[in-house]
Amino acid sequence: MKLLLGVGGSELSYQALTETLERVSETGDELTVAVFENSDIDADLETIQQRIQEHIDESGLEPPIRHIEGTSPGSELVNIAESEGFDRIILGGGGRSPLGKIQLGPIVEFVLLNAQTPVTLIR
């Protein structure tokens, strides 16, 4: 299965990366990691890339990493998945409000509502 994992620099996105790498090393699925800047997160692309690389190095896998430019990474993820025959989009998300309510950010929401492929939300 061809998997497209989006990582935007939130803690939950790194958690999703770790879990996906673990799973892929068991299943042998074909993983691509897409890096983008999440405007809700205070981290630049370089920092995000570096952390992703650390996680990947630990896993011993070598998934291709690609960059998503622009201000609507959600829409770009959906486009890539559709035009390049990905079977599934994976995202981390669902942080908690101060009170403990689950909250979905705008990127996750866009992908869930607009993707033509199945979406896995890791939370």
Binding site: D40, S97, P98, L99, G100, Q103
Partner: protein, 173 residues
Amino acid sequence: MTRTYPDEPAEAFPQPPRTITDRKDRPIDVISADDADTESLVEMYLDFDPADRAQGIPPVKEEAIREWLETILDGDCVNVVAKHDDTVAGHATLVPDNEDEHELAIFVLQAYQGAGIGTALVETLLGHGQAEGIDHVWLTVERWNDPAISLYEKVGFEISSAESFEIEMAIRL
């Protein structure tokens, strides 16, 4: 993220303790609560219908309920409960975020819903909050939850964002 609040502050809300008569003629005490009330709140949330959960709270299992209550009964939060005799029928809470604003949530047991207890709880909670110097309160509510949205509007909340899965509402105290 900057939240939009109403320009004008709300009126003064009633403070706890107070006793109301609900629409089913039950006397309901609305009183402030803290971590000393943990056990009676655990009992209420164990009785809570999972179908009435909102955005993942309250948790279902006792251990998770206790963990969650520990957070929201913390000293910097504001809590009120509605009691019918010795039964906790409802609970409302204000929990601070990182911007010195407070998130509100309210839960009423199924057997006590639709009797005006929710309105009394929210008003009294906001009164308690005013007394504690809290001036910005927000909440999120699922967009299909019309009864809750009209309750919040009646009390003085205004919609601050409707772009997301949930509607966000805010009030200035």
